[in-house]
């Protein structure tokens, strides 16, 4: 049940506060190299806060976060992005006034990346998302919701990340797009990229992930292999049931 012996990301007993509100009550989880891990839970349980704490947008009051064995709680967000942790937030948040290409360039223009490599990455991403290739010179704000989600993921891929923190990618998308997202997650997994997937869509999460965690009230309450549960499982109903 445990991940590989040297996990990519390891979180121990994370506590965070927002003003006086105690949001995370000792969250612990792991993501192994190349693993797809699902993080389920109702609204407001702290899933997004957990992701934000990993990427350094929220400072934990207590607890440890390790990436590739090294503690990262004091490292600035932009350094973490360059170290290989990519964040795709809930509302997508692409740069609306930049073109598709410029959006991609924000992640592409890093030190130590040769021009050839940049071209390769662009080609790869346009192969994944042909729609983006078509719209490469259009402003991000003119894309549809689904296209913006693709751009958000494509942009993250430009960082050549070891792990992508993916926050509710299917929210507000049509079923056709949901299956497309599933395919993308699979393709990334084939490529060896780890994914920490926060989702409300249980079937998708169970299908795409190797392991899942379920959170409630700021802490992890359940942890198992994705194959061990089905959508109708009592555990699922207990923490996510309507």
């Amino acid at each position: 049940m445990s991940a590989a012996s040297d996990p990519l990301v390891q979180i121990d007993e994370l506590h965070t506060y927002y003003g006086k509100s105690h949001i995370l009550h000792g969250v612990s989880l792991q993501v192994g190299r190349g693993e797809v891990v699902g993080l389920l839970g109702r609204n407001g349980v702290g899933k997004t806060t957990t992701l934000k704490t990993i990427i350094g947008l929220v400072s934990p009051a207590q607890g440890r976060i390790a990436y590739e064995g090294r503690p990262i709680t004091d490292i600035a967000t932009h350094r973490l992005a360059r170290l290989g942790i990519a964040y795709v937030p809930e509302e997508r948040r692409i740069f609306r006034l930049l073109t598709v290409i410029e959006n991609l360039r924000t992640g592409l223009d890093r030190d130590g990346v040769s021009d050839n490599r940049k071209r390769e990455l662009l080609d790869k991403v346009f192969a994944y998302f042909p729609v983006l290739a078509e719209r490469r010179n259009q402003a991000g704000g003119t894309l549809s919701g689904g296209e913006q989600q693709m751009l958000a993921i494509a942009r993250a891929m430009m960082l050549e990340p070891k792990i992508i923190l993916l926050d509710e990618p299917t929210e507000g998308l049509m079923p056709r797009m949901v299956s497309q997202i599933h395919q993308i997650i699979d393709a990334l997994h084939q490529d060896g990229v780890a994914i920490l997937l926060v989702e409300q869509n249980v079937p998708l999460t169970l299908a795409a992930s190797q392991r899942i965690y379920i959170m409630e009230k700021g802490a992890v309450r359940h942890h198992c292999m994705a194959s061990e549960v089905t959508v109708n499982d009592p555990v699922i109903h207990q923490y996510l049931g309507v």
Partner: protein, 298 residues
Amino acid sequence: MDAVAGFFQSIPIELIIVQTINGIVTGMILALVASGLTLIFGIMDVVNFAHGELFMLGAYCGVIVFALTGNFWVALITSALTVALFGAALQIATLRPLVGRDPLTTILATFGTSLILQNYALWQFGPVARKIDEPISAQFTLFYLQYPWYRLVIAGLSAAIIGGFWLFLKHSKFGVWIRATTQDRVMAQAMGIPVPWVLTGVFALGAAMAAASGVLFAPLAGVNHTMGLDWVLKAFIVVVVGGMGSLGGSIAAAIFISLLEAYASIWVSPAQAVIVSFVVLILTLLFRPTGLFVPTPK
């Protein structure tokens, strides 16, 4: 109506054309100063009270380098670079610690800085004005005047600097970084953009623009420790009238106000012509507070 027509006919057309050119020349310098201010405000949300002092420091730096080398253009470039570095240091020391706090604190911090710089200049250089010689002293005949070429050079250079900067913003890597940071600071960081350094860079750029304006302006009227104050006030008016945060608006407003003042000085003294900018400000605040040259928000 006849009296009005008669009144306007009595002004020689040559005078109007000369004043138009003068207005555009001053307007372009003002546009350069205001652009730096708008840049810093639009991207960093910082009202840089010390901007006038950076203008003044640039001019003094130009004076010193010019005295050493005798070359105006070397003075211009050295001054811009030096003040840019100084601006970066200033931002790191006084503004970085204030990121995330009430925007009011940055006004106070830059105000404190402007006091320090002004008094430093007074202490170091004394109250007597210094001068730089014009790099091009040739003149051409414009109607009945000998009009200095240098003034046209100023206008041209200012436009070139602003234009160059706009291209930089649109096409270069740092330009994309700056635009991304302006739109969404958090996601810019998540994309690996070193946002704290982008902010420092923007401040340095604004400072360089102010310094360049200072050196360009120096041969026209001399350099002293209070020269920054008049310019920064006008620049603030330009920024408000042009629409805060709008580069195009600032430029348009700068030229508009300078032209009006140039025309006004046909009748009144320059010290009183300044009232024109105040009137424009009041009218803008009354009727289009978001800016005269900005499309009204829906």
